[in-house]
Point group: C2
Chain length 170, copies 2
């Protein structure tokens, strides 16, 4: 086999969510990938990707008992979702700033099935690396499943780093 000369990393996608572990993964990436690349005159762009659940998957106009949610409830949920996005992105931005690394950061917010959105975004951007925490992606039931990162590892074409928070190791 010819050893291929693999290019330097130009675009790194970090999937962030509400979990402490995803912020740890971002921090790990900044300290161990971005910082060394940066000091090596390579300045990758860091894409912070947050996927919010699409409304139909998490709440519909009908609740479990078949009653129609009032518009006020739906509005509240949408408002909550917006605040969640802002909160996660602010936290991620704070982690980036604390790293004291002068990097280009892009923020992207997707909606829908996390693994589909993450893998689709990575492919669309032609990313050189995907970084995410090992446990679940996101809020509600997604946290309990903990399989999004493994699904992504199977599907994504670029190298993927799965980072585990020390508190979550078995």
């Amino acid at each position: 086999m010819e050893v291929e000369n693999i290019g330097e990393m130009k675009k790194i996608v970090v999937a962030v969510d509400e979990s402490e572990e995803s912020m740890y993964a971002l921090s790990w990436c900044l300290n161990n990938v971005v910082s060394v690349s940066h000091q090596n005159s390579v300045s990758p762009t860091l894409v912070l990707l947050y996927v919010k659940p699409s409304p139909p998957a998490n709440y519909s106009a009908f609740d479990v008992a078949g009653y129609l949610f009032g518009n006020d409830v739906v509005a509240d949920l949408e408002d909550y979702s917006r605040k969640l996005v802002d909160s996660v992105m602010s936290k991620a931005q704070e982690v980036c700033m604390k790293s004291n690394i002068d990097i280009k950061v892009e923020k992207k917010v997707g909606s829908g099935d996390a693994k589909n959105v993450i893998c689709g975004t990575v492919e669309k951007l032609g990313a050189d690396m995907l970084v995410m925490g090992s446990h679940g992606y996101g809020f509600l039931k997604r946290t309990l499943l903990g399989s999004v990162s493994y699904d992504c590892a199977k599907r994504v074409k670029c190298p993927m780093v799965v980072v585990k928070h020390p508190r979550n190791v078995l």
Copy 2:
């Protein structure tokens, strides 16, 4: 959450096997992790880990029809196994040399269930990163399962990079 100051990578384990993809993963690691760390005055030790199947799991003294294998057959298999180890390690060493990076390389050969040996070695060494190809680990039936890397991603405590050979992307 306090952003933790994560240390530099000192020990990187790369699980190698007979597959082209594992050599690609090694090459990726050299080009994208070791090289930048090295130029950043950090010189990690690269541990090349090969796990050979333990004899009882792949051939026993009895074949499928219940006949005892002759000692000559068992000896042939053991000889083949030794040659396989040498071949994989030589190839991996060649990939390292071609990278023109002056790194410290250690070779380790384990025996048994790949995921157990890989995760156990990573833990025992206190490795800072595990790198392996996405498709299967190793020869024979292990190649077809393709799940060792995902099992390791679930179990290993340190960050793990799953690298896919461009030819293997879906």
